[in-house]
Amino acid sequence: MKHLFKFLVLAVLAAALWRCALAIPFGNPLAGTPLPPAMDEHYIAAARAETGASNVVTSIVFDYRGFDTLGEASVLFTAVLGVGLVLRKLNAKEKREARDAEE
């Protein structure tokens, strides 16, 4: 019974969220934001002239969508952090043994 109630509340919230997300216009031309196809064509046509790079992929990844790349770099950093955290005990052991071997 409790589970059913939880499920109902979740369903109502999800429906409300879905309805609100659909209600917001996407890529409103009145607000000055170009519609998605227009944006694509702008990138393909003007990327070379605007950024000066002949590799359009790089100009999108590092210029137009630089924030995305920052996220990707942070993902790698977090992965390194996680590996170091999980294996820190074994690492400390190896370091200590190497030091002992030197002495």
Binding site: E50, G52, A53, N55, D63, T69, V83, E94
Partner: protein
Amino acid sequence: MRKSRIVGHIAAVFYPFCLVFGLYVVLHGHLTPGGGFQGGAVMATGAALMMVAGMFDEGEREIKYHHYKAIEAFGLLLFIGLAFAGILSGHGAFFRNIWANAGGWFGAPGESGSFNSGGLLPLMNLAVGVEVFGGISVILVTMIRAMKAAERGEDREDGDDEAEGAE
């Protein structure tokens, strides 16, 4: 881990070539396919090669663990710093390519095929390449060290950290 002398020495010969080719891919990221992530991964392949060939200690002599950590942190900070250049220079946008077509270094207008183009993009590629190289190498060194420690622990069959400390 058993070590083959031949494989080790061949790996030592190929190590600098891996680094140079990775740097080449990174530096030409704004002209040809490739870029920071790919070139950084190629450079990290060099470090991986040394470890796979059993030359871990020799590789460690050249670039140490804390160097890799410093390289990674430097790369990420450089990337974020270049992103903030757009705000700090008064253009008012994060990730604004302030040097594009502005003349000077990497800003030659209308020369999109030459190395001296792309504005901040080559520098961002370099930052990301350095970050990926450092990051993947840190992961590799950490895992190899953990593997070695685990192997030794199995040999002695005590494996308990606290008991060792008491000895």
